[in-house]
Symmetry: C2
Subunit: 306 residues, 2 copies
């Protein structure tokens, strides 16, 4: 049975996209409950200045908490080398730095062009390497940009190679904008892996802005991708608001993968129960997904044991 | 460029699932507008007794109307040989008869076990053949049944062969219940085609009850399927109500296929405008889809011209 890693990014990608701050205790309950449901990797926060993203101010405390949970890999986002230093001090298992394939987006977002970002990545990767921490680069806007439109595949492949030269041990092809289509996913995954080698871990971070999230997962599976990011309840993205993230919904992803007979190790019923923690901590916050309402198929147990 | 036929089933599958009756003139506007957007096949209604489904009472008039539209194939559902006779008299281009793979569902739904349904199919196909009308059998509940749970793949393959012996010129593998997963779609399509031959047209009728509709389309594309049913606005199915149909949304399907560089011949902007006709004729009726709200990607035109 093929093992698939579903990496939960809700506590970071979900929470940083909404204005309200989830209390630390609720975040802890969320992380603990997902781990108990069988989730083996969670991005718990981001080491950004608290003045910029107060939602992420408790990231170091969450890392300490998550590290105590057996069998769980604790990941944080780091925007730059300074963030990498904080992550190393906190003792994360892995850190991920976003690198926007659209230079317009990169300059607008972090005020760095591509050469400047590559320097930052190299500096951050040195910190990670010295601390023995897994280092991932998120190739954001890899499938298109709301400012530039199309992002050339040649450019993505070239920047992917540069990111590996700068120290990336993992590349996460990220559909930040919900632009990816399944043919593009197959093409770009194949091209990037051909360029950087099959031995380097390539993963997918997909959004569901246009409803193509799971279709793109299928395309990724066809290309041999075995790690996918998702956010519980699709938190933090209204798929009906242009520009919003529309994160892939963890519950639907797990239903699909388990039904296909792929091994995620995640108990769907327990995962569905985790929603109550978010609903209680952030009342009224919209949560998404089809599985929470439709429920699994009658023969779900047979399928997932297949 | 691979040509894909998107077959619109909303005027039948969508409208028969809601209680209100759409006025004939609105149905005509809908059909004409979709044809003008480039849709080449529409299931306009069903030849069932008006006492059972008053929503479908004007099917013969719609067939007359749709036949006058150039380049459009006019399809109707027929539940039995009697319906086939009406369809032949109306002069449809194609008729489709549902054949439930779950015998429990078949008996409950049309009070016929499998042998009785196969007799009905043979009788209907004779009528179609004599009239020179394309004859399709919809293998409903092929991916699972809300009453029986799993429906054996051996059984589906066996009944598919029987349907072809009874005169089917096309088999539509139908996920009536929203149970299909992408691995199952690939497996079942491959097995059915191996059994009945690649020359026989095999198509997919998918639902989106659990959000896997487009993921299952990708699986079907991988297996060489080139015809997919969909319903404008996902009309007639609330994907959040267990047991409801949750039809695949035509707009999202077309966005995905066109973005992939597949040739549907459908103009997405014109298709999106068709929703206004339904909204006006059935005020308050829920319509679904991501594309209507998110809009196409900035580089959509480049992608679809690829």
């Amino acid at each position: 049975m093929t093992e698939i890693l579903v990496s939960e990014v809700g506590p970071r990608d979900g929470l940083q996209s909404i204005d309200r701050v989830m209390p630390l205790e609720a975040k802890k309950r969320w992380i603990a409950a997902e781990a108990a449901a069988g989730v083996r990797e969670i991005e718990v926060g981001s080491f950004v200045p608290a003045a910029l993203l107060p939602q992420m101010a408790d990231t170091a405390e969450l890392v300490s908490f998550a590290k105590e949970i057996g069998g769980l890999a604790t990941v944080t986002l780091v925007p730059n080398a300074k963030g990498a230093q904080f992550a190393a001090e906190a003792g994360v298992d892995a850190m991920s730095i976003p690198f926007s394939m659209s230079e317009t987006h990169s300059i607008k977002n972090v005020r760095k062009d591509h050469p400047a970002m590559l320097e930052e990545i190299a500096a951050a990767s040195s910190i990670a390497r010295e601390a023995g921490i897994h280092f991932s680069v998120g190739l954001s806007t890899a499938f298109g940009c709301t400012m530039e439109g199309a992002v050339g595949e040649d450019q993505v492949v070239h920047l992917a190679e540069k990111a590996v030269e700068a120290g990336a041990q993992e590349l996460s092809l990220s559909d930040t904008t919900g632009y990816a289509d399944p043919a593009q996913v197959r093409r770009l995954v194949r091209r990037v892996r051909a360029a950087v080698g099959e031995d380097l871990l390539t993963t997918l971070h997909l959004h569901n802005t246009r409803g193509l999230g799971l279709a793109n997962v299928v395309a990724g599976l066809e290309e041999g991708i075995t790690t996918f990011d998702a956010s519980l309840g699709g938190l933090g993205g209204c798929p009906f608001a242009p520009g919003a993230s529309g994160n892939l919904v963890t519950e639907d992803l797990v239903l699909m993968l388990n039904s296909m007979g792929l091994k995620t190790g995640i108990d769907l019923e327990k995962l569905l129960d985790v929603r109550a923690i978010i609903e209680e901590a952030l009342p009224g916050e919209p949560l998404y997904g089809f599985t929470p309402d439709a429920g699994p198929m009658l023969d779900y147990a047979e399928r997932s044991a297949a």
